[in-house]
Amino acid sequence: MHYYDLVFETCDISEHLERKLGFEKIIVANHGIDVVDLDTRNFDGKKNIVGIGKNPNRLSSAVKSGISAVSLAEPTIDKGLIAAMEDNGCILCIGLSDIMSYYGMKRTRLIYKMNKLFEYSRKKVGVSFVTLAKSNSMMCSYMQMIELAKMIGADESYARKSISEINEKLLVEE
């Protein structure tokens, strides 16, 4: 099984690091697939993007235009947005680096919200677990990603499928 992760450009990625962490490929944002903050930037019509944002209306309109994936800045359930994602075959990306960067109650609360979002979404859309790390310290190995996905509510087989098959769909040749 081949595993994939998606990180920001600020990470220092090498082939050695990919192999060490057990990934076939660590996808770097803006090298093939773009990661765009749709709260601050207008959607420019490009389809190979992961749209990040809080505003469900802006995200919904981008989803209807055919973007590849959405990552919610606040993991709250918006039924309209999930329905639009289901209709357009859009992937939901859950960023694991968020739970690594917080501590205590804030982290616990975030895990709870991600769990609710995952439980609601998994039957409707493909849920992708990626780190979306901004630095190497927020990255982790494939087996850590599987365990974090299980902590959020995925079972072993879904966690593996998410990190392999679903994440592979984010892979776009430059």
Partner: protein, 103 residues
């Protein structure tokens, strides 16, 4: 009945010198206790069994608790007030298999 256990090869974001081994170990156990929780710590029962080079070590846990330990190592970003991170590189039932890990 004999307890089944798992060994995990871990890479640390900071170097661990010979003088720091005790401090590092106690700081790591305390951080893991925080991440895993007192109620579940005994299920994991982590113990560093070997240091490999300057920034790698092998940690032992119970077989059933190894998942908790792997997740906790991803969440743990500070040991003894020092910023760090932990990558779990390989798991095995024997130490020998981990000692020959190349990457």
């Amino acid at each position: 009945m004999k307890d089944k256990h798992r060994y995990i090869l871990v890479e640390s974001g900071v170097e661990i010198s010979d003088n720091d081994i005790e401090d590092f170990s106690s700081g790591l156990y305390s951080g893991l206790m925080h991440c895993i929780g007192e109620a579940n710590y005994h299920r994991v029962n982590p113990k560093i069994v070997n240091f490999v080079g300057r920034n790698r070590f092998i940690i032992k846990s119970s077989l059933s608790g190894s998942g908790f330990l792997i997740a906790a190592l991803a969440l743990l970003k500070r040991v003894n007030s020092k910023e760090t991170y932990f990558y779990t590189l390989k798991t095995s039932g024997t130490i020998k298999a981990l000692s020959s890990f190349e990457y």
